[in-house]
Symmetry: C2
Subunit: 402 residues, 2 copies
């Protein structure tokens, strides 16, 4: 972790990926993030993947470095405790992160009644409050229909919850942005970040909304890179590499490394085009280009190609499984300084990532594992709410905390 956000206290009442990953980003940049959950765990407490013993690897991945307090949220006194945590005083507190419904006991209005300058960041499904998850939104915006081989009509869901991940990082940006304003003006804010709006706005930002209005839906095209040159190819030894050439330099490096300059030049002469000057033409005429590349890959081994690609400045990647990557790829996992091997609440020890961003020339603090559920209940009640041991004991006796 780093200490960019040292001193901040964020309270998280959330579940699943988007909002908890926001809390994770904040924690890994130094904020104190206090997550409250129902006693026994929230709806994500058993979410797969799970360890052989049944503990959720997902939960312990998304809650690294947080403090955990367990509260009976079904009773009014428990709900009051959650509200008291979110609205506790302090210039560096009053920061609440949630995916609870807009209305209800954790509404912004209810919190702002206790603390006028509270900042609440609320990740939602649909903007109108209807339930949605990453995969249902993704179906509605048409990504699965664009994905997969052209010879198959079935829509292909993504397996990476891209909208959730984007929502978590965007929520962290929203939280810190609202705090920058509060430090100047004193104003709080409620920022709502629906997955539906993340998807709609992203497809606007990428030009895809304009594209479909101008040219209709983009057809499925397998692994072909849209609008430039890129695809997967199989090598002589049966490995699969992806190469991408968008810039002139990427293109010239690729041709040179594969010794395809003459063959591609012949196609250019025949068609009267310059692939070097216009990346889009490489896409339009890809049916002419791909066979040349397939043949070039089919006569070269991956082990010969990889250093040649690196020397030639080619942008390439090898298809590998995640297990291969985790166990053998030094740049991604086995020698990546982001990772430390930690023991987690599941009892398993495995390499575990700190923040994605690296502060150059600053010490990289330790990676911290997730808490056990309720591990910090007493500490949080004492430190944030100022309760003494007698009061904390009574809350335990009444079953309001665990």
């Amino acid at each position: 972790m780093y200490e960019l956000l040292k001193g901040l206290r964020v309270v998280e009442g959330a579940a699943f990926i988007a909002a908890p990953s926001c809390g994770l980003h904040l924690a890994q940049m130094g904020a104190e993030v206090i997550r409250f959950d129902a006693i026994g765990g929230g709806p994500d407490y058993r979410r797969w993947p799970v360890a052989p013993g049944g503990d959720s690897l997902y939960w312990e991945g998304l809650n690294k470095g947080k403090k955990s307090i367990a509260i009976d949220l079904g009773r009014p006194e428990g709900r009051e405790l959650a509200v008291a945590l979110a609205t506790a005083p302090g210039d560096n507190a009053g920061l609440f992160l949630t995916n609870y419904p807009v209305k209800g006991f954790l509404s912004h209005e209810a919190l702002a009644a206790k603390r006028a300058d509270i900042i609440s960041v609320r990740v939602m499904g649909w903007a109108d409050g209807s339930p949605a998850v990453d995969y249902t939104i993704n179906a509605a915006v048409g990504v699965p229909q664009m994905t997969g081989p052209a010879d198959d009509e079935r829509p292909v869901n993504h397996v990476l919850p891209a909208w959730d991940l984007l929502g978590g990082a965007y929520a962290a940006f929203a939280m810190t942005s609202a705090l920058l304003r509060r430090r100047i003006s004193g104003e709080g804010a409620e920022i709502r970040i629906p997955l539906s709006d993340l998807a709609a706005s992203s497809l606007s930002h990428l030009g895809s909304v304009a594209e479909v209005l101008s040219a209709g839906d983009r057809p499925r095209m397998g692994n072909d890179l849209f609008g430039a040159f890129g695809r997967d190819f199989v090598t002589a030894d049966g490995r699969r590499l992806i190469v991408v050439a968008i810039t002139p330099r990427q293109w010239s490096g690729l041709l040179k490394t594969l010794d395809l300059g003459d063959a591609v030049g012949a196609v250019e002469a025949e068609l009267g085009v310059s692939f070097a000057r216009d990346e889009g033409l490489r896409f339009i005429h890809r049916a002419r280009l791909f066979p040349l590349f397939e043949a070039a890959f089919a006569t070269r081994s991956a082990e010969a190609l990889k250093p040649a690609f690196d020397a030639g400045g080619v942008t390439w990647g090898e298809y590998q499984t995640l297990h291969q990557a985790v166990t053998t790829d030094p740049r991604l996992f086995t020698a990546n300084p982001l990772f430390e091997t930690l023991t987690h609440p599941s009892g398993l020890s495995y390499p575990t990532s700190g923040p994605a961003g690296t502060l150059a020339n600053e010490a990289r603090g330790p990676v911290t594992s997730a808490p056990k559920l309720g591990q910090h209940t007493d500490e949080v009640l004492a430190a944030v709410l100022g309760l003494d041991s007698g009061a904390i004991g009574r809350l335990h006796d009444e079953g309001l905390v665990a």
Copy 2:
């Protein structure tokens, strides 16, 4: 746009998606974002999708609300101008966003020599500086191998540049976080955000790294939701809906709406399990459950199911193409208050999104289109560098700006 970041000045020297989308998020939250490009445009200036006239819809989507200055970056004097912009004085300036190489004329060291407290946020390909794009990193971390139908072995690339989008939002979070620290301590920072580290850390956060070490690679499973109940089903009228049931309430609502309680209960009795209590069992035994759902969908129309699902609290979505969504879906596009119809540099008018996050109860400012390349060259030279009209004229005469 909103004004959370009003008064900040960010200089962007970048191309493609990740870093420019960071600048876009900052601009749409109120920062002044000045993007410099080479005269004639950078390597992303013609990137597809393009308008019928050839202008890039991608470029004008990713650069909305920014100011544009065009500089001859091939000459030392032009490079000095870019450095001067990035390092110009002001408490709310000295914020630089880039995907230029770590070493070179826009290195953090070079900038910090001019302004010690500069914050530079640098999106990269591989962490070691090797070239990579979203799709080559994605191949290396194994996502394409997990994606797509179980009856097809070909890896399936995602079409949504998820790592780029995540990188943009995370970079915006990094920028604001570093500014929060600078306002307290006065320190600058260089934050490097490689796509390779975004991917590796995300797969750690999601529990996937632990999963493959514990259980091996996850097999391909088409559109089946991992670890709970979810898949696409075809209705009596040939429409395709996705339903997801992770929580007990989602599951009970789904069974009730489809009148499947008895049939599923019979499977539970036969297997001696409770699907209501353990979402993972719904996944393990999905081959027993799916035929019941297929039959239930096959006898109901989408028009009957959709209101019933809403009434029953079911989490569902309809597969539609992006064109269908853009032209007919009020929640995503046609009545979404994020969108305004604007005319862009391409000459096309189309619905265009403001920020994904909504500040409840605050006025939503106008959505702003992208600049024309170099539209603000003179304005920026005067306002940021304090050049008078004579000096600006000389830069034009020398071909250093356009």
